[in-house]
Symmetry: C2
Subunit: 245 residues, 2 copies
C-alpha cells in the first residue's frame, strides 16, 4: 500500500486554481475533510481514494469528489489522492496556514471552556486575548492568559491585530460587544450568545446555539417516542380554553 504516487504540483495545474466559486456547502465540509486527512496521516496512510476518504468524513463519495474539484484538480485517476498533498491544499484554501489571533469576550463557564479548547490551537487559531466586563475576573489567569477588562477591548484588538472575535457573553451584552468588536476592526465574529446579532454587510458572522440544537433533537425525539401527535378533541378544547383565559 505504499506505492509511490506521482504528486501533482502547482506548476502542473496552472489553470485549475480556485476559480473563486467555491459553494458555501462545500466550504462547510472542508474542515471535515481536513480532520479525516489528519487521522489518515496519523495512521501512516499516504494515498486515499475518494471512497475511503468520504467514508471517514461521513459523506457521499461523489459529493467529496465534486467538493474537491471546486478547489482544483488534485488527485490521480486510477489511484486516488495523496494524503499529505491534499491536506496542504485544503489547509491553504481554508486559510489554516496562517496564524489567526482570536479574542474571546465573556469569560464565564463557556468562555473558559473555549479558552482551554485544544481544537482551536491545533488548527492555527491562537487565543490572543480574554476579555470580560466583570472586575472580579480581570487579572485572573485563564488558560495561561490574564483576563483583561472590556475597557481595553479596542486597544487589544488593534495591538494584537485581531480579526476574529468570539462572543460568549450573556445575551443582553452580546450586541453591544459585537458593535465594539466591529468598530475596533474585527471582521469575523463567532457568536455563542443566544441572540440575533446585527453586523455590517462585510463582516462575517456565524452562530453556535446550544439550546437550538437540543430543541431540534427534541422535535425528532418527540415523534419517535410515541408522542401524542394528534390532539384529542378533549385536549384541543382544554387548550383553547386555556388560551381564551
Amino acid at each position: 500500500m505504499t506505492r509511490r504516487t506521482r504528486v501533482p504540483h502547482e506548476a502542473a495545474h496552472p489553470d485549475t486554481t480556485p476559480i473563486r466559486g467555491v459553494p458555501e456547502a462545500t466550504v462547510a465540509r472542508l474542515p471535515l475533510y481536513l480532520r479525516a486527512l489528519a487521522a489518515l496521516v496519523d495512521r501512516g496512510v499516504d494515498t486515499v481514494s475518494s471512497e475511503e476518504l468520504a467514508e471517514s468524513a461521513g459523506v457521499n463519495s461523489a459529493k467529496l469528489r465534486k467538493d474537491l474539484s471546486h478547489l482544483g484538480s488534485y488527485g490521480t485517476r486510477g489511484v486516488g489522492y495523496d494524503v499529505n498533498y491534499l491536506r496542504r491544499q485544503i489547509s491553504r484554501e481554508v486559510g489554516l496556514t496562517q496564524d489567526w489571533p482570536v479574542v474571546i469576550v465573556g469569560i464565564g463557564n463557556l468562555g473558559q471552556a473555549l479558552a482551554n479548547y485544544a481544537g482551536f490551537a491545533s488548527r492555527g487559531f491562537r487565543v490572543a486575548a480574554l476579555v470580560d466586563a466583570d472586575p472580579a475576573l480581570t487579572g485572573k489567569q485563564v488558560a495561561g492568559l490574564t483576563v483583561q477588562h472590556t475597557d481595553d477591548l479596542e486597544r487589544l484588538v488593534a495591538q494584537l491585530s485581531i480579526a476574529i472575535g468570539v462572543i460568549a457573553t450573556p445575551a443582553v451584552a452580546a450586541q453591544q460587544v459585537c458593535d465594539r468588536l466591529v468598530a475596533a476592526g474585527v471582521t469575523s465574529i463567532l457568536n455563542f450568545a443566544p441572540t440575533l446579532l446585527h453586523v455590517p454587510e462585510q463582516v462575517g458572522l456565524r452562530k453556535v446555539d446550544l439550546s437550538i440544537e437540543l430543541q431540534i433533537l427534541a422535535y425528532h425525539e418527540q415523534r419517535r417516542s410515541g408522542a401524542p401527535l394528534a390532539l384529542t378533541a378533549e385536549q384541543a378544547a382544554e387548550l383553547a380554553q386555556a388560551v381564551r383565559g
Copy 2:
C-alpha cells in the same frame, strides 16, 4: 395595540394539523421563532404580524409564513398571530411542553459549562445526570449535581428515563460513550466531540463543532483581507474583459 384577537382553535381547523411533513429547514428555525416570541411576550406584545416576527427572528417574512403554515393555520388574516397562542403551538410541536431529562457525559471545561448553561433549563431540558470517567471528578458537585462515574451510565439512563445524551468527552472516548448510551436506551445524541459518530438508523444525532465554525470563518476572512488570490492568465483576461465591457 392590545385589541382583542379571535384565537383560532383546533376544532375550527380540523384538517390543517401537522400532516407529519415539516421540512427539516423549518424545524431548525422553529427555535428561532420561539425565542423571538418569548421576547415579545416579555415586552407585553400580544399580536404580531409575520413581518414583525420575521424581522426579530432574522428571516424573510414569506419564509416565516410558509414555515408556520406547515404546522397549521394559526394566524388571522388582516391581523397577524396571537403571540401566546403561537408560542404554545410551536412549543408543543417542538416538544418543549414535556420534560426532557438529559445526561451529560464528560465533565471537563465544556461539560461543566453545559451543565451550568441556563439556556437548557429554561427550555424544558433538565440536566438529570453528570457522568465522567475520571475517578478524581466523581463525587464532586457541579451545577448542583454530583458527578457520577461512567460505570453507572446504564443504570442512570434507565432509572432516570433519559432519552437525550450530550457527549462532551475527548474525541477518542466519544464513540465508545456513544455506543454505551445507545445500548442503554438513549435515542437522541448531541455530540460536542470533534469526531464522526456512528449510530443506528433510528437514533437521532446532531453535532456541534467549535473548530469547524472557526474554520469556516477563517475561510471567508482570508479572502476578505487581502488574500494572495493569484489569478491565472485566463481569469485575468476575463476580469479585464469584464472591466472593459
